[in-house]
């Protein structure tokens, strides 16, 4: 082996072999572990009852065509609400970051907002707005439950998301703002061009986490009569007197949220690598 070919190969090959062995051992032990758990579960005395009630193939086949299309309502809810949340929360976070005594009322407003809507359970907001406002029958005010569902989710989630943004804004070192201001940029320009772009990049993973939470919480609006995936699965459950439709619904949520959760992990790992690289 000539020197030009790089580092000494035998240790590298040994490393490859041990990595392969680790992978095989991990696969083997995983198969044995879950195989054993599965065997115990299906050989438990009550397993046939559990299977009939929760994992019933016939009911599964019947309820999937009902339930999966109902999820379209949830998708609309969380997509529309997320747009409003990202905008409203950013405004709230910026208001809370305004310095100086003149802006005290705005800071106060944003602070009270975040406190109130994080404190009150979301389901209460949904009930109050979803039932209460349409009952007032004020001319010109929409009485669509979908509208009030979006409004409720936006109000509740904006409070959390504004805190995420605010943490991001505060994580940008003050020297960045000083550098921007020293060039003559106004306070707003420094925020717009220097602080916010860095802040938002840093909080993308927690924003995605809140987005996952929002997706799940769209089922809460079923209580004000929006027929979405959870309401549909309740209807199917009651008709069949069987819990399988709930498992269909659970599976739908797993399918959409797990990839997002993995994406969050990837982004966090990437940020970590970057900050480690930056710390050299």
């Amino acid at each position: 082996m000539s020197l030009a070919s790089g580092g000494p190969p035998p240790p590298a090959r040994r490393y490859d072999r041990s990595a392969l062995r680790s992978t095989l051992v991990a696969l083997g032990s995983t198969a044995v572990f879950f195989g054993a758990v599965g065997w115990i579960v299906v050989h438990a005395p009550n397993w046939p009852d559990v299977q009939r009630s929760f994992f019933n193939g016939a009911i599964w086949a019947e309820s999937v065509p009902d339930i999966v299309p109902a999820f379209w309502v949830n998708i609309q809810l969380f997509c529309v609400a997320e747009v409003f949340i990202l905008v409203l929360a950013l405004i709230l976070a910026v208001l809370r970051s305004l310095p100086g005594p003149v802006f005290f009322p705005l800071r106060l407003l944003a602070t009270v907002y975040a406190d109130v809507f994080r404190a009150v359970p979301g389901i209460l907001i949904i009930y109050i707005l979803g039932f209460g406002i349409p009952a007032l029958q004020i001319p010109g005010v929409p009485n669509s439950t979908f509208v009030w569902a979006v409004v409720s989710l936006t109000l509740v989630y904006s409070a959390y998301v504004s805190e995420v943004y605010r943490a991001g804004i505060q994580s940008v070192h003050p020297s960045q703002e000083a550098a921007a201001r020293s060039l003559g940029l106004s306070e707003f320009q420094a925020l717009r061009y220097v602080v916010l772009p860095q802040a938002i990049r840093r909080v993308i993973p927690p924003l995605l986490n809140d987005f996952i939470g929002l997706q799940k919480d769209t089922v809460l609006v079923s209580y004000i009569g929006v027929v979405e995936i959870f309401r549909q699965s309740q209807i199917d459950q009651a008709a069949a007197f069987n819990y399988t439709p709930y498992f269909v619904t659970a599976l739908v949520f797993l399918v959409i949220t797990i990839p997002l959760a993995r994406l969050v992990d990837v982004l966090i790992a990437r940020d970590r690598r970057r900050s480690l690289a930056g710390a050299r």
Binding site: S175, A178, R181, S182, L183, G184, V194, Q198, R201
Partner: protein
């Protein structure tokens, strides 16, 4: 100074480029500046020397209005910039500052770092601002770095970009706050050479520095800051060779002992 003049109008009789009058500044109980008086004529290069904590950086930040004064006044070309009604953004366009820690914008390319303020503050078109930025980057040997992000550059390159970023506003006065203190020793020279070139070009500069050799070469005047006051000032030859004050002598002796002069 009459306040009725339009913001861009300069007074007819231009005063000194910079005049600092009786500036006091505290942080909590710590009195950092205790009555600073200082005057810079146009094309002056004044170096502030003194131990860490003597108030050099604070003085620069006060002049750039990054820190509010406790008392005292600062005049830029005869116009008081510390009066309450002053438009700080307008003042800062005319005073460039370069920081010890570079403070480049990490999310922007070198070119965007330099063009941001000319575009957003001076309202230059994209084309104009790029032309000006490329001219400056080229002059300081950074033209090939235009599309790189700051974290790809060496410390010396980053600091040169920070200088270019300040110069792109064509300031009347440049403040340099220990701009080589965060650099590896072998990168100091490239940054100091940029400053030498600026001094030759007539840029008015106020420089806080620990580089005594550089101060001796470049300064038209050296001010020794001690405990928040300018204890002694004069031509570099005088300050470095025949310091009058005991504190100045002690400070310089420590520098010599450390092999830095």
């Amino acid at each position: 100074m009459p306040s009725g003049i339009s913001p861009d109008a300069r007074p007819d009789h231009r005063g000194p480029a910079l005049r600092v009058e009786g500036v006091w500044k505290s942080f909590g109980d710590a009195r950092v500046l205790r009555g600073i008086d200082l005057e810079l004529a146009e094309h002056d290069v004044v170096c502030l020397i003194g131990a860490s904590g003597s108030g050099k950086s604070t003085l620069l930040r006060c002049i750039n209005l990054l820190e509010p004064l406790e008392s005292g006044r600062v005049f830029l070309e005869g116009e008081e910039i510390t009066r309450p009604s002053v438009d700080v953004n307008r003042v800062r366009r005319r005073i460039g500052i370069v920081f010890q820690s570079f403070n480049l914008f990490p999310h922007m390319s070198v070119l965007s770092n330099v063009t941001l303020a000319p575009r957003r503050v001076l309202g230059m078109s994209h084309g104009e601002s790029v032309e000006r930025a490329l001219g400056l980057l080229d002059r300081f040997g950074l033209a090939d770095k235009r599309d790189d992000f700051p974290d790809r550059l060496s410390g010396g390159q980053q600091q040169r970009v920070a200088i270019v970023r300040a110069l792109a506003m064509e300031p009347d006065l440049l403040l340099l706050d220990e701009i080589t203190s965060a650099l590896d020793p072998e990168l100091v020279a490239e940054v100091l050479n940029v400053i030498r070139e600026l001094a030759r070009g007539g840029m008015t500069m106020l420089i806080a520095t620990h580089e005594m050799g550089f101060a001796r070469d470049i300064a038209t005047r050296v001010c020794f800051l001690d405990n928040g006051v300018i204890l002694e000032q004069g031509p570099p030859a005088e300050i470095f060779s025949r310091p009058r004050e005991g504190r100045t002598q002690q400070f310089l002796q420590r520098i010599v002992d450390a092999g830095r002069l």
